[in-house]
């Protein structure tokens, strides 16, 4: 039969999605459903002096109004779950509803519950709050300076932590270096913008004491735990369901006040309560990404050997420490400073800083794109300084393919790689010589073409639980699967991870169907409901296939092992006489004497004739905890045409060569790359969350925040190399974040290459026409 593993079959989740029959959280309707809205602070930083909700309480249809005073002694603050050790991390309380002070524009001060959505919104206008405005800043560097407004009484200088990564002796390397380059790099705030805004529906049954929470979640088991903490309700009394989830990109990982508050309201009122974010609210209160101000340096020899990398980073956390926030600019950023290269001396100082902005947490790539960006920018700047082709600098410093597993200066052990292979493949697609010739010709005509190249690595497949514990992550990072074969032979697989667009209902079915010799239609993947799935740690960090997929494979193998024993018993042969061929266990030499999985499942489920001591049933549970992270890699190339009169950047070609190990479904892998690349190009070209001097979000709607449109984005040429990972039974790495990690740096490298004749080495992203044009004018002024 056809090999399912590696086949680009159509997705099994699509029929419901293309016919409008899928159920997202806001589609959930329950008898007696009520609606919640939140009154939010218009000020970025202010003392609350009076809250009057009496008019709102009397408004038509209003059932209840809760203020911070009403809930502060009944509910715990929003927990931060990544307690990074050794950095003096300070996590001040994040109240579910502010009652003393608001610390960012959007901080909630009251919740209204009404019979209809419209009545709840109408009553919002009647909430009367007096604020005493305080100074505010959303700039993570300025927030540390003397005179800056203090957000939290117990966090002097707004510095939440200072974390240091140190490998080798960077100070000595820089002191003795032949060449050193430096840059101040701003990695702007971004708005994750999952197309489905967040939503929650809570239903508490006071008879059973059970709370059911439908939530837009990437990790329902984590949300169950975090809600248990906030609500002071035992974990086993909470069922979290993530039904269809319309994208996440990290923004649906954290705990937020909203879902706990609607749960609280349902428990208090005895009715189901729904809250659905609108987009403006989403941009105000759902986590943001990136927000680094970085001072970065690289040193090396005149002939292109990199000897050191050093950084000082101000990482904005926003007003409170969100669920995973402290781990993003530290563990997931600083530890990755070696990139694809042998850099013997690395030192980074990361200041996590509270500001009056929306909390910042994991956004696609989470820390790793910021690392890849600064490394890959520095390589180009360094190459320019020594007059060497940046491609040759990369080649010279790559970790060679025969050196894996390789321990980098920061202590990570890279699992496998062939960086030069990916580079060569990408260059082959481009035709470098032809491009350089065209570039030279164009420059004579006053046209500025540029080539950007990035050779990235990613740390993903998060990860060994022991490492999670050692770095302060408040949970495990294994994952789980139950493979259950029904009497009729069909299979359901219950998984701990919680996909929301990544297609694992298809890829995981491919894994099991391949093992069982089944058509893929006979296997169904169940996810997203904590009441019927085993403990899992969610879908993020490009971990689902590498970790949960491995659990699926191992559970399927366990079932198959039992099936083999049963087959031997029924065929009255020894186990050693059996082999798996095509779709059945067959007696060696007599292939017609065979038992397929469906028949064995029936026999196991009825248990009429079991081998002595064997339990009935045909199912197995597997928990998979990897021994290491996986390290996907690749080379991306972008060519651009920069109009120096307008600053407009036109992308000519975008080539992505990624290595994520053997693809289970190449069509789905390519789709992940496409989406990731475009998100990174959006970051490179046009996306930026802008705060004004009073920390008001200026780009607070889709009219102002430039989510990439189809007409603005290029066609992406996708190719792969395949280097299996040794750390999981599938050999897979991860592909969800790869595109985003590479593409922003690739684009900026291309534009800086185009503008090399002007002496331009760096422009901060996003490269809007205004920024590019201003950089050209400034450079012309300097040259004149």
């Amino acid at each position: 039969m056809a090999t399912l593993f590696g086949s680009g079959i159509k997705r099994r989740e699509d029929p419901r999605l293309i016919t409008g029959k899928a159920t997202y959280v806001d589609d959930v309707k329950l008898p007696g459903l009520t609606y919640a809205v939140f009154a939010r602070s218009p000020y970025a930083h202010a003392r609350i002096t009076r809250v009057d909700v009496s008019a709102a309480r009397g408004a038509p249809g209003v059932i209840a109004v809760y203020t911070g005073q009403d809930v502060k002694d009944k509910l715990n603050p929003v927990p931060c779950a990544w307690n990074v050790p050794g950095c003096d991390l300070k996590v001040p309380a994040h109240p579910l509803l502010a009652w003393e002070k608001v610390r960012y524009a959007g901080d909630a001060v009251a919740m209204i519950v009404a019979e209809t959505r419209a009545q709840a919104r109408d009553a919002l206008d009647l909430v009367d709050v007096d604020y005493e405005p305080l100074g505010a800043t959303a700039d993570p560097e300025k927030a540390t300076q003397p005179g800056a407004a203090q957000l939290h009484a117990d966090v002097p200088g707004n510095i939440a932590f200072t974390w240091v990564v140190n490998g080798g002796d960077a100070a000595a390397a820089f002191d003795t270096a032949e060449v050193a380059v430096s840059e101040r790099i701003v990695q702007q705030r971004l708005l994750p913008t999952a197309m489905e805004p967040r939503a929650a529906v809570a239903q508490y049954n006071s008879g059973s004491g059970q709370l059911t929470l439908w939530a837009t979640s990437q990790n329902p088991h984590i949300h169950r735990f975090l809600c248990s903490v906030m609500l002071q309700l035992p974990e086993h009394r909470i069922r979290v369901i993530a039904p269809e989830v319309g994208g996440g990109f990290g923004s649906k990982i954290p705990a937020y006040p909203d879902e706990a508050l609607v749960s609280f309201a349902s428990m208090q009122l005895g009715v189901p309560v729904k809250w659905t974010e609108d987009r403006s609210e989403n941009y105000k209160v759902t986590i943001h990404g990136r927000d680094h101000i970085e001072y970065v340096e690289m040193c090396g020899t005149k002939d292109g050997r990199i000897t050191g990398l050093r950084t000082k980073v101000y990482a904005g956390l926003g007003a409170y420490a969100s669920t995973a926030a402290p781990g993003i600019p530290t563990i997931l950023h600083g530890l990755v400073y070696s990139g694809s290269y042998m850099i013997p001396n690395i030192h980074g100082t990361i200041h996590g800083v509270y500001t009056n902005g929306t909390p910042v947490d994991a956004y696609r790539g989470a820390g790793r794109p910021e690392a890849a960006y600064l490394i890959e920018r520095l390589v180009d700047i360094y190459a320019r300084k020594i007059g060497m082709d940046p491609i040759e600098v990369r080649r010279k410093n790559f970790i060679p393919k025969d050196q894996f597993p390789y321990t980098v200066a920061t202590g990570l052990i890279y699992d496998s790689g062939n960086y030069e292979g990916a580079l060569d493949k990408a260059l082959g697609i481009l035709d470098l010589k032809a491009f350089r010739a065209e570039q030279a010709r164009a420059r004579k005509d006053g046209r500025y073409l540029g080539l950007g190249l990035v050779s990235y690595i990613e740390i993903c497949g998060l990860g060994p639980s022991q490492v999670a514990g050692a770095v302060g992550f408040g949970g495990g990072l294994y994952d789980s699967a139950i493979v259950r074969v029904y009497p009729t032979g069909v299979v359901r697989v219950y998984i701990g991870a919680s996909p929301h667009g990544q297609g694992e209902e298809t890829t995981f079915a491919q894994i099991v169907a391949q093992e069982f010799g089944y058509p893929v239609e006979s296997v169904e993947i169940i996810h997203g409901d904590t009441d019927n799935t085993p403990q899992g740690w969610g879908t993020y960090g490009s971990r689902t296939t590498a970790v949960c997929g491995s659990a699926v494979k191992n559970a399927a193998l366990k079932v198959k092992e039992k099936a083999k024993l049963l087959a031997a018993h029924l065929l009255e042969v020894s186990e050693a006489d059996l082999e798996w061929k095509d779709d059945a266990f067959r007696v060696k030499g007599s292939p017609d004497k065979a038992k397929g999985m469906a028949e064995l499942a029936l026999m196991a489920n009825v248990a009429w004739n079991m081998p002595p001591g064997m339990e009935p049933g045909m199912e197995a549970t597997a928990f998979f905890d990897p021994t290491n992270f996986v390290y996907p890699f690749g080379t991306h190339i972008c060519t651009v045409d920069v109009d120096v009169h307008t600053g407009q950047v036109k992308i000519l070609r975008y080539i992505a060569v990624d290595d994520c190990g053997p693809p289970i479904n190449p069509m789905i892998v390519d789709g992940q790359i496409h989406g990731g690349v475009i998100q990174g190009i959006g970051e490179g070209l046009q996306e930026i969350a802008v705060y004004d001097d009073e920390a008001q979000l200026v780009t607070g709607t889709m009219m102002d925040y430039a989510v990439p449109k189809a007409s603005q984005m290029p066609f992406i040429e996708v190719a792969h190399t395949i280097t299996p990972s040794p750390v999981n039974p599938l050999g897979v790495k991860g592909c969800g974040e790869a595109g985003t990690i590479a593409s922003a740096a690739c684009l900026v490298n291309a534009v800086c290459d185009a503008l090399a004749p002007f002496g331009i080495t760096h422009i901060d992203k996003p490269l809007t026409p205004a920024r590019v044009w201003a950089a050209i004018q400034k450079a012309k002024g300097a040259q004149a």
């Binding site: 999605l17 293309i18 789709g671 009219m703």
Partner: protein, 163 residues
């Protein structure tokens, strides 16, 4: 105060009580349970709520339900004929033109109106046509491929019908 309004949706007439301020998107979802129409923004940028009104792709969050009285409205639920998917639905499935699926209904309905007037579009024309529909997952590449494939299927269907 609520008032009655009669809407013809996917060929069926519905009379519902709505507030004059109610948006068509909300009436479709909340009153008529047609939850395939999604709401992804509040400024008419994202296009997730796109439906056809008298054959024209319209963001249903920009229309009051009372304005749509007497019009023929097509939502994503009305595209397939029984178990037979519309060529656009089939092409989105075959070309992997969706991931999380949230933008997909609006994307398909925008494409339906577009293909009715541009049966043989170029990639660039498709990209221009869907620029009022945002997708954060796919990078648009497979959406463009899907719409192009659907165009070919629809052309072949018409040629077949003419023969």
């Amino acid at each position: 105060m609520e008032r009655p309004v009669t809407l013809t949706i996917n060929g069926k007439s519905h009379t519902v009580q709505v507030e004059p301020r109610a948006l068509l998107a909300h009436v479709l979802r909340d009153t008529l349970n047609l939850t395939g129409t999604h709401v992804g923004c509040d400024t008419s940028q994202c296009g997730a709520c796109t439906v056809l009104i008298d054959g024209q792709a319209v963001k249903s969050c920009t229309v009051l339900a009372v304005q749509a009285a007497g019009s023929a409205i097509t939502t994503i639920e009305g595209l397939a004929k029984g178990d037979t998917l519309h060529p656009l639905q089939m092409a989105f499935w075959e070309k992997h033109g969706l991931q999380c699926g949230f933008c997909t209904p609006g994307m398909i309905l925008t494409a339906m109106d577009f293909l009715a007037h541009h049966p043989d579009p170029t990639d660039d024309e498709i990209r221009q046509a869907i620029e009022g529909n945002l997708c954060r997952c796919t990078g648009y590449q497979n959406i463009v491929a899907a719409i192009k494939a659907a165009a070919a299927t629809l052309r072949a269907g018409h040629a077949g019908a003419a023969a």
